[in-house]
Amino acid sequence: MSTAAALGLRRAIRAPGSTIERIVVLAAAVALLGAVLLFVGHSLQTMTGSAVRSVPLDWQGPVASPQAALRVASRVKRQPGVLAAVPAATGPFAGIEHNGPGGQIAAGAGAILAVPPDYLRHFRTFRLLTGTLQPGKIVLDQQLAATLQARVGDSVVLRPARGVKPVRFVVSGVGLVNTGDVLFQPLNPLIGPAPAQPPANVAILPFQTFAQKVAPALHPLSVGIAAAPGSVAGVQWQVQAQVDPRSLSGSPSNALKRATQIKNATERTLTGQVQFVDNLADSLTSAAGDALYAQALYIMLGVPGALIALGLAYLAALGTVERDRRELALLRARGASRRFLLQLAGLESLVLAIPAGALGAAVALGAVRLLVGGAGITVGRILVAFALCTALAWAGAVAARGSTVVDVLRRSVTEGRRTGRRDKPPFWERLYLDVIALGISGLVYWLTARTGFSAVVTPDSNPTLSLSIYMFLAPAFLWMGATLLLARLRGRLFSWVLGRAAGNRATTLPAFLAASAARRGAAVNRGLVLVGLLLAFGVNLGVFSATYDQQARVDAQLTLGADVVVDAPPGSVTRQKLEQKIAHVPGVAATSAVDHSYAYVGPDLQDTFGVDPATIARATGLRDSYFVGGSAAQMLHRLRARRDAILVSKETITDYSLRLGDLLNLRVLDGRTGHFKVAPFHVAGIVQEFPSAPRDSFMVANLGYLQSVSHEAGPNVIFVKADGDPVAVARRIAQATKPEGTVVRNIRRQTAQTVSSITTVSLSGLSKIEEGFAIVLAAAALMLFLVVGLGERRRELATMAALGASRREIAAFLWTEAALVLAAGLAVAALLGWILSEMLVAMLQHVFDPPPDHLAAPWLFLGGLVAAALGGALLAAFGAMYAIRRLPLGAILREE
């Protein structure tokens, strides 16, 4: 073992250039995979943190009495993993009054939250805007305080129920209750969380004060019986608890498992006394589903790149394959055992893997740190990354070395009986695995397409991805099939084309170049497989990420309406000529006024948008996918063609059995009378999405016609297309229209606020990491191809030099092959990258709202990718020229 180690180390030191080259290539390969894994780990931790933080109240356990609440809470908070537990209660009140300077003001029924005075130390269900929660006093929700015009120090009279004596309280604070849906939900541990309509008026009392002064006048709720959603029917005694977030680490699945263990242990300790409604588990289950989807997506996007990068490590090893073969054969001839050669290969690989792993881990950590900061990168994580990168580098180095060792071992044993066994195609080729993989890919894609690509995350106690895993098989098999097919072709297509170009007999330099490349089809194909797949990886990644980002922007624009949206008070758009005023603001490219109102279709009140078909498409983006049965342009044409035309939702068409051209009577609010009146419209098309429209049913009509029947004061919204930075344009518009009382919003802010399925998984960090690596690796791949070519052909090139060929002519034999590989690689990348992107986008169309009309091409990145590959090739070509000049001709030509 020690002899093998010493020999391995000596061989690595003896050829420092080749050793460094292989270490750098291995490091680049493992750094990509390491960065992906670190990023996924970091993302999962972030997802857990977000899920935990998003839950205002982890557990709510209904109990029968205030005494039980106090007793159970004191025991729960002593349980391991529990941060805090308090007795609490909710209950109704019939009304509340305040005698202020302006006279008596009364508010209607509402709900009371009763908690201990120190509640806010660990719970975030409300926050105090002013004052404190004090025994015997009351805190009013901001809205209730505003209604009653009550301030701290004022007295209010609370009436718990009808016919019950009212209770007077001094206001000790004003708070903001923003989690009423959770606080006042009906508590049934068997059903679980059921967020309810929050009450309009909320008052907060100290637990003891509530128990003594208010609760006796109210009916208690039975434990375990759900109240009707949206109402607080009686007193609900409960224990509220928070889990210690420090005990919830790792992925959402891990955190969910741990949280469930803590809850089960707590309930087991207090058997028969309390069972919790687990809001935390609900949130973590949802996050676990998202995490599975994210992992699948990350792996699908990242792993092909890392595997191709390991392929580069194999290519790097080929540079010394002849030397290795000679030396190993010599060792074998001198009696080295099979075991010794395997040990030598393993230890030599380790000599490369340790520095490559360290370098790769450093690059991976640096890249992740640069993008997502230092959060979550601990010493433990660094060590894990190093171990992982080293293991991968070792595996890559062994795989790259394996073929040489196997070749030497096989030759020495079977040299004499090789006849008849030569030139047999590999096993996978005889099984047609490439064709089978492509067939499976197509079949899986077709099957999932038939089911409408229902990539639905189904979070339950054991989160799974419904169909999604199978769907990801389609691109995975496409990768495999395409790789094997390229390997099967072995450059035969190259050889055929170049053979034709060279003619029957080469006599000129271009013909010599073509003839040489044609007969080196297999070697050229090796470069093509790696460069083509690497570029395809880059194209797929870039196109998918750009489409993903594009849809995030579309999502935000759909929610907001346009780059900039101006909400104006009724009448001001027409009276103040607001649209014209905005149109003159610098940076405004186009404007369109919209009337957002409501109308009844039968008993359904729907949002109605009055638009100007001539200008709306200039001021905002209208995608074809927003409409059914025609393009956006066709739908606007239909609106223009008929004054009373209206576009309605598919549900409206179905619910009211409507067809195109049918009369549709709407009840619209008449601005003159203040009453709804019937107005006739004609159905002109189906709309399913529209800028600023809600996700449920709505209608789009001609602005002029809508106003003629509703007699409203004019449009109340203006869509603005910005020419430049929307934030700056919005600021200028706000300044210019301040006197008119407008509210101006911009898309940048909206993008940050929009929370939808598409933004639950952040792709931007991963994309940046992988795009960076793709560019570096594309350059490295071409350089490596040239360097390996130089290594493999040094004797041939030296012979050319001895024949008197110029260095420029000799270098042409290297760079023309690199140019061929680059050109063919680009063709492969364009085709494969495009198919993969189409596949991924089609499969994930359910996460896009609205689905994309077309793929987005990130030209800057794609240009950078090509430029990097070209730059790498040029750099290597110049390097090759230099290396050829320094070739030790004498030494090379006397090599046996």
Partner: protein
Amino acid sequence: MSTNGRNGPLAALEGVRVVHGRGEAAVAALDGVDFEIDSGDRVAVLGRSGSGKTTLLHVLGGLIRPTAGKVLWQGRPLSSLDEAARTGALAKGISFVFQSANLLPHFTAVENVAFAIHAAHGRADSPLHPDALLALVGLSSKTENLPSELSGGEAQRVALARSLAQQPLLLLCDEPTGHLDSDTGERVLDLIDALREETGFALLIATHDSDVAARFDRTLELHDGRIVQEQRHEVLA
């Protein structure tokens, strides 16, 4: 005496020393060698393995630079020539036949010869025709074969044809029969002789075989990088 129309020999080594390796591992492959060859000369360099024969041929052909001393080509130091001139000398003046044929593996036999014509003359319409050169070495039927499809003797004959394509003034042959059986080797040497008779190039051949050396006008015996003996032979026509 010069026969090339210049004052001085066609090629010469003056006090040439070639050292391989550095420090303690340094080995002098040639150590103070003085040697001249004129146009039309037939010289054999005889010596055991490691005596410096190949190094002498390589240094004379400009493939390696001497550590000390001068290499003169047509009276001018080879080291004083710029790269283009050195390449020109290699392409048109000096030609090699190696122990291994060193054919370009991705070119057919005829393309190997055609490439040498291209490298030497740079024109497709050179008066030399690769088919004719291959016919000269008796390989008309193997013109379209790749080197991997040729026997050792055939490959060496293609190498000869290729060297003739350069229309050399000096042909340097490094153990051209080393990898061949004795009959084939004999035929290759006969062929070289015949071609020399026809074209008149000077011939310097490295060999460890004294019988082979005896076929030549002059024999230089090398030992540990030094010329230890020079012998002239009476050769029967």
